[in-house]
């Protein structure tokens, strides 16, 4: 089975661990081997959280520079920071709502211009899908569903060997009961975005 490598980057608290868990369950339903790795620890105090998900027969759980097939960023600056994981063959999906790091918030650093950020990513990778996932999550019923909106956009690209149906099943079984409807809606909104089919 062909190996597909996915990097998810987020700021602590944005729910990327749940997103990888849902993906993992969907992979099991699709009969696809999956391995994941996450970096947390000191990052829990407002730092960066990164997870790698490797689909297919590879044994490694981490992804080297230039080796990601897909990069999903929950925050634009963090997407830019993770660009070293990408190559010309990589598809990048990113939320465009900034969460400025504290260093920027207090004037000790500049947040890059969002247009420039998109141009840069576009120039260096195969495809960029950038949108305001927070807006879509809100219209699905909760800002907390940003992670699931992004999963919708991710599955739409068709890069991962995961079907829409199995991902929806994983949302039903692996996210909190009270959030299932919101999450399914959030997934659909992400899925409806233009991407590959």
């Amino acid at each position: 089975m062909q190996t597909k490598r996915l990097i998810i980057v987020a700021v602590g608290g944005q729910g990327n661990l749940l997103a990888s868990k849902v993906l993992g369950e969907a992979a099991l339903l699709c009969g696809v081997p999956v391995r994941m790795s996450e970096i947390h620890g000191m990052a829990q105090r407002g730092g960066v959280v990164e997870s790698s998900v490797v689909f297919g027969d590879a044994k490694s759980t981490i992804i080297s520079d230039g080796e990601a097939d897909v990069l999903v960023g929950f925050e634009p600056l963090e997407t830019l920071r993770a660009l070293n994981k990408c190559s010309r063959e990589t598809t990048v999906i990113t939320n465009m709502t900034p969460l400025p790091p504290f260093t920027v918030a207090i004037g000790r650093g500049t947040y890059p211009d969002l247009n420039q950020l998109q141009t840069l990513i576009q120039a260096k990778t195969k495809q960029l899908i950038a949108f305001d996932a927070v807006e879509l999550a809100k219209s699905a019923g909760s800002v907390l569903a940003v992670n699931i909106v992004l999963l919708g956009a991710l599955i739409k690209t068709g890069i991962l060997p995961i079907t829409k149906e199995n991902l929806q099943t994983a949302i039903r079984t692996k996210t909190k009961k009270a959030f299932v409807d919101v999450n399914l809606k959030a997934f659909d909104l992400g899925f409806q975005l233009p991407g590959q089919a």
Binding site: G46, K59, I62, I63, S64, D65, L77, R88
Partner: protein, 620 residues
């Protein structure tokens, strides 16, 4: 029911490496477990702590790793299967009992888990704990995957009983914090009732006894070595005259690399899982017929040196390499591409490196360092100490916990840290050696871990410094585990003792002790000043529950603050305490009402009284 108690063998579950290890221990019928929390090992104990609430498993958070291992040693010598978990540096603390426990041995399985942290994602060093196996004579098992972590945990208990020795299960962060689908096995019944048979001439390690026990240990070690010769965890894979020896996560990178390089039919892998004692016969068989050999292991050249020594003994002249300026480094962790490149270089095959884009035109990306939470009481305490010590020449030894982050600007509180408990003893040294004003910081959990002994030393030797104990009612850094000062009702547990830090400090004989509430800024500054003025050892206990923890316990009454028009924009708030709830909007300071927890510290330091509670809006 806890998911790790699921009794359906064969079922596949997505587990974190640490959960797989906890599950392995449950399947092995572990009945007794001890630990001191430390990343990357913490989730193993968290799961066992939860399970102990629903079963007859005994679990404890011990005051430190030495205590944890000593408690475990007694249980295992009473015939109860016991698990003792720690992070790699915890093993340094437990090293004292470990060395002699190897002599004394165990009656039932005792597995000591050490979670090593190459690249130091959350640690102060990246020591390779395989040397503890060598130092103590205790066998080491090293899993390569999450699935194998479950399997090896069970095997470790069996091996421990087979030998009558504790066994070290050594993982690295990439095992602990990776997830995969794990097929569950059968849960063996727990034997929780032990018994102890007196046998002083084998169990009391006085010199005459130990002289004999050392002989026994060496016999066991030889037995372990012959087990390693045939262990299923040590296997050879593939055919060819290029040899690769590896262990742990490196095996995954090697497997992927030789497929990607297309050299499967030229390469043989010796994967060692029972890495200590390393089996000489296995290694010799492997080396014979190899044209050249590469050893792939993170950390120190532990296997490399052993394999070379075996080759020398067998008079084999095959080239063997591993750590070398042109090959692998002793620094940090490996990654798949790096391993593939080194393999390609060493065996002289072409590697098409992945096309990393040129990133030279990317603007400077602002850092996102971890930070003390909004409203964290440590920030308030640091501010009070800073104000109280203003104008003095001071040294601030600090310790291990969230509060270590106080060394970052704008607080910049923290000048020296080496290990748990070191703030107290280094304060002794700094004050004696420099004569400067010394103010040390230690957390509550760390105080019980190993701060106490330093404080006893300070009182006894009549040192001169102030110790600030940052008592936030939990072990915050590793995920809010309890410690001897904690109210266990927070965990819905009864039947525990609770120790007052204040009473202990007074009992040791500290003459000047004060307790402050750090959110009361003025009073706190006064109390710290008085403590500094005291000649001799003084202690300030700063009590306020960890904000994050209080929030999770629903004990936080959030009332957000705001910056009003009175603000003159000199930004004392940002420059002095730097709470992450602040941000700049245009040129004006604002407070994010969703982040602010209403500690009111900023309001008290603002000289313009420009920061006031939001009246109409409840934030949260």
């Amino acid at each position: 029911m806890h998911k790790l108690l699921t009794d359906s063998p064969g079922e596949k579950m997505l587990l974190l490496g640490n959960e797989a290890i906890a599950r392995g221990a449950i399947e092995a019928g572990v009945a007794f477990a001890t630990t001191y929390p430390g990343t990357p090992s913490s989730e193993i104990s968290l799961n066992l702590f939860q399970i102990s609430n629903e079963s007859d498993l005994y679990f404890e958070y011990s005051t430190n790793e030495k205590v944890a291992l000593e408690v475990a040693a007694a249980a295992a010598n009473s015939g109860v299967r016991t698990f003792c978990m720690m992070k790699h540096v915890g093993m340094n603390v437990a090293a004292d009992p470990l060395m002699t426990l190897a002599y004394v041995g165990v009656k039932a399985g005792l597995v000591i888990l050490t979670a090593d942290d190459p690249f130091m994602f959350s640690s102060q060093n990246e020591q390779d704990n395989r040397y503890y196996g060598k130092l103590s004579g205790v066998p080491i098992l090293e899993p390569s995957s999450v699935e194998e972590a479950r399997e090896m945990t069970i095997a470790a208990f069996d091996l421990s009983e087979q030998l009558g020795e504790p066994v070290i299960l050594r993982t690295t962060t990439r095992i602990n914090h990776s997830s995969a689908f794990v097929a569950l096995g059968t849960i063996q019944p727990r034997n929780t009732k032990g018994d102890f048979t007196k046998d002083p001439f084998n169990l009391v390690a006085v010199p005459a006894v130990s002289r004999r026990l050392h002989v026994r240990l060496l016999e066991n070690w030889a037995k372990a070595r012959s087990i390693a010769e045939t262990s299923v965890f040590n296997f050879i894979e593939g055919e060819g005259s290029w040899g690769i020896v590896c262990s742990g996560v490196s095996y995954n990178y090697v497997s992927d690399a030789i497929h990607e390089l297309g050299i499967q039919n030229k390469t043989r892998i010796l994967r060692l899982g029972l890495t200590h004692p390393t089996p000489p016969g296995r290694v010799k068989d492997f080396l014979t017929g190899c044209e050249k050999v590469l050893v792939v292991e993170e950390g120190e050249p532990f296997l490399e040196e052993t394999v070379m020594a075996f080759a020398q003994k067998a008079e084999l002249t095959v080239p063997i390499a591993g750590k070398d300026e042109t090959l692998f480094s002793r620094l940090y962790e490996f990654d798949p591409t790096m391993v593939r490149q080194v393999i390609a270089t060493y065996f002289g095959v072409d590697d098409t490196p992945s096309q990393v884009p040129d990133l030279s035109d990317i603007p400077e990306i602002p850092q996102r360092p971890p930070n003390l939470c909004a409203g964290c009481s440590h920030r308030a305490t640091y501010y009070a100490v800073k104000k109280a010590a203003e104008g003095m020449e001071t040294i601030f030894p600090t310790d291990i916990g969230c509060y270590t982050l106080g060394f970052l600007p704008p607080l910049s509180m923290g000048d020296f840290v080496i290990c748990m408990g070191s703030s107290v003893s280094t304060s002794c040294g700094f004050s004696k050696a420099t004569g400067k004003q010394v103010i040390g910081f230690i957390g509550d959990s760390t105080f019980f871990h190993s701060g106490l002994t330093g404080l006893v030393n300070a009182v006894y030797n009549n040192h001169n410094f102030t110790l600030v104990i940052l008592d936030n009612g939990t072990t915050a850094m590793t995920g809010h585990q309890p410690h001897p000062g904690v109210d266990m009702a927070n965990f819905n547990r009864s039947g525990y003792g609770r120790i007052s830090i204040e009473a202990v400090v007074r009992a040791i004989g500290v003459e000047h002790v004060s307790v402050i509430k750090p959110y009361k800024v003025k009073k706190s500054i006064e109390a710290v000043k008085a403590a500094i003025e005291h000649k001799g050892v003084s202690v300030v206990i700063s009590q306020e529950m960890c904000t994050l923890y209080a929030r999770s316990l629903k004990k936080l009454n959030v009332r957000a603050f705001q910056v009003t028009d009175k603000c003159k924009n000199h930004r004392d708030c940002i420059n002095e305490i730097g709470c992450p709830a602040f941000f700049l909007e245009g040129e004006r300071v604002q407070i994010d009402p969703n982040a602010c927890v209403g500690c009111a510290v900023c309001a008290q330091i603002c000289p313009e009284n420009a920061i006031t509670p939001v009246k109409d809006k409840k934030a949260g």
